[in-house]
């Protein structure tokens, strides 16, 4: 039940609803829990609600860090 997926906002609808697409499949979800949202934003969808916005720059930073940590691991053994 805790599993949730990142999805891209495709369309904002009235009444705090939105359409997202997940791997090409469209789904109507509630955005009542999110303060500010735009088409193109990525959100975490859980039980039909957007729980949080995903911050693209933080995601990039983490990926970069993972690469660096990973390469340190490589050096250790070589």
């Amino acid at each position: 039940m805790c599993l949730s997926v990142p999805a891209k906002i495709a369309k904002i609808l009235p009444n705090d609803m939105a359409v997202v697409s997940i791997d090409g499949i469209s789904l109507e979800i509630s955005i009542a829990l999110i303060e500010e949202i735009n088409v193109g934003d990525f959100v975490l969808v859980h039980v039909g609600y957007a729980l949080a916005k995903i911050d693209p720059s933080e995601a990039k930073r983490t990926l970069q860090l993972l690469q660096e940590l990973g390469s340190a691991g490589q050096e250790c053994r070589s």
Partner: protein, 380 residues
């Protein structure tokens, strides 16, 4: 970017494992609890334990809402659907959750009870709207992730004057459960030593923020790293925990900064505080009665509370004595140490709640072949 596949790269995972291996001290063991079922699931699914050095052990915590729901609450729901006027809406994972004496919602449904599986609280609203003459009850369960959606549902029901909708509330709070694990000396020291740190929940933390864990880290001097649910997230979090332990630090760190902030989701927290209040205590399977760990509807919304509306009472029941769920949920034992594991108890015929949800420790071990690996390890 898809924000999922990028965090599953096998080569980077292996390199991270080597980095962890290089930094652990061979002089000690590292015992980390992943609180959340989502992490348990990821660890089993991607075989992450096999990548870790032998002295780093992951303990599967109680963070699966279905697993920690005591049988008495399932019994209450079954008594509720005995009423002919009631339609019960539940999240799918709950259907097989064991009540007492082999009862489950699945069986109740087979015997004719009106039970509907829903994906979202919005489905419950739709159902209530379409069946004005009936009592539609939503079986609310989960941590701080599913709680705000329940709050939204109640507010919508209020605005729409949906008198036939109510909530059977079983929402529980993550920090209180972590507190109870850290406080109980029996739990702290069972099964080979204390817990050295926690991987903190991903999605719960998007709501409550990293600050919710700061008092815990401080009081118990344990590092807590909030991590995403992808395999690289988990591996990085383990490395961060190893470093904190090595450096004698006990901070709350945020690996999952792409979705979690220190403050959390202000709007969602607001929804929750408008609708819910703390229960004095709530029973958790595996942890017993934990003070201030459960939520119920507050005074203003009491009329939506199914427990009040239908005068439902909790009658505690003892769990199957052979089931080791209680020890597993506290990190004191592993699923394979249960005699019933894989024989009497399987996902098709769950005896304990840990086998019910795919996020439960026993089900995760079963599904992803941990049995075999465990067997290999013991015989090698």
């Amino acid at each position: 970017m898809k924000y999922s596949d990028e965090f599953r790269d096998k080569t980077i995972a292996q390199r991270l494992a080597r980095a962890i291996d290089a930094e652990v001290s061979s002089q000690r063991a590292y015992r980390f609890m992943e609180f959340c079922g989502g992490h348990t699931h990821a660890i089993s699914r991607y075989g992450l334990e096999d990548l870790l050095p032998a002295n780093v052990r992951m303990i599967h915590g109680p963070g699966c809402p279905v697993c920690v729901l005591p049988a008495s609450r399932i019994d209450m729901a079954i008594r509720l659907v005995d009423r002919p006027e009631v339609t019960l809406c539940v999240y799918g994972d709950l259907m097989r959750a064991p009540g007492s004496q082999g009862r489950s919602l699945l069986r109740a449904k087979a015997l004719g009870a009106d039970i509907r599986m829903v994906y979202s609280t919005l489905d419950a609203i739709r159902l209530a709207e379409q069946s004005p003459g009936r009592q539609t009850v939503f079986f609310a369960i989960g941590f701080e992730t599913t709680t705000p959606p329940t709050a939204v549902m109640i507010r919508i029901a209020e605005n729409m004057r949906l008198k036939g909708l109510s909530v059977f509330c079983n929402h529980v709070l993550t920090p209180s459960a972590m507190h109870s694990i850290l406080e109980d000396p029996k739990i702290r020291n069972t099964g080979g030593g204390p817990i050295d740190g926690f991987i903190g929940p991903a999605h719960v933390s998007t709501i409550i923020g990293t600050q919710a864990y700061e008092p815990l880290a401080e009081q118990f001097e344990k590092p807590i790293v909030i991590a995403g649910f992808e395999p690289l997230d988990v591996m990085q979090a383990i490395l961060m925990l190893v470093r904190q332990v090595n450096q004698d630090r006990y901070e709350v760190e945020n690996q999952y900064s792409r979705a979690v902030t220190r403050e959390g989701n202000r709007r969602a927290k607001n929804w929750m505080s408008q609708v819910f209040e703390l229960r004095e205590q709530f029973e958790w399977r595996g942890l017993g009665f934990v003070p201030n760990s459960g939520l119920k509807l507050n005074r203003a919304y009491e009329r939506f509370d199914a427990e009040t509306r239908f005068a439902l009472h909790d009658m505690p029941v003892a769990d199957n004595p052979a089931c080791e769920c209680y020890a597993i949920l506290r990190g004191a034992k592993r699923p394979v140490e249960c005699k019933l594991f894989g024989t009497v108890c399987t996902p098709q015929t769950p005896v304990g709640a840990c086998m019910v949800s795919s996020e439960g420790a026993c089900a995760a071990y079963w599904t992803y072949g941990r049995v075999r690996d465990e067997h290999l390890r013991q015989t090698s």
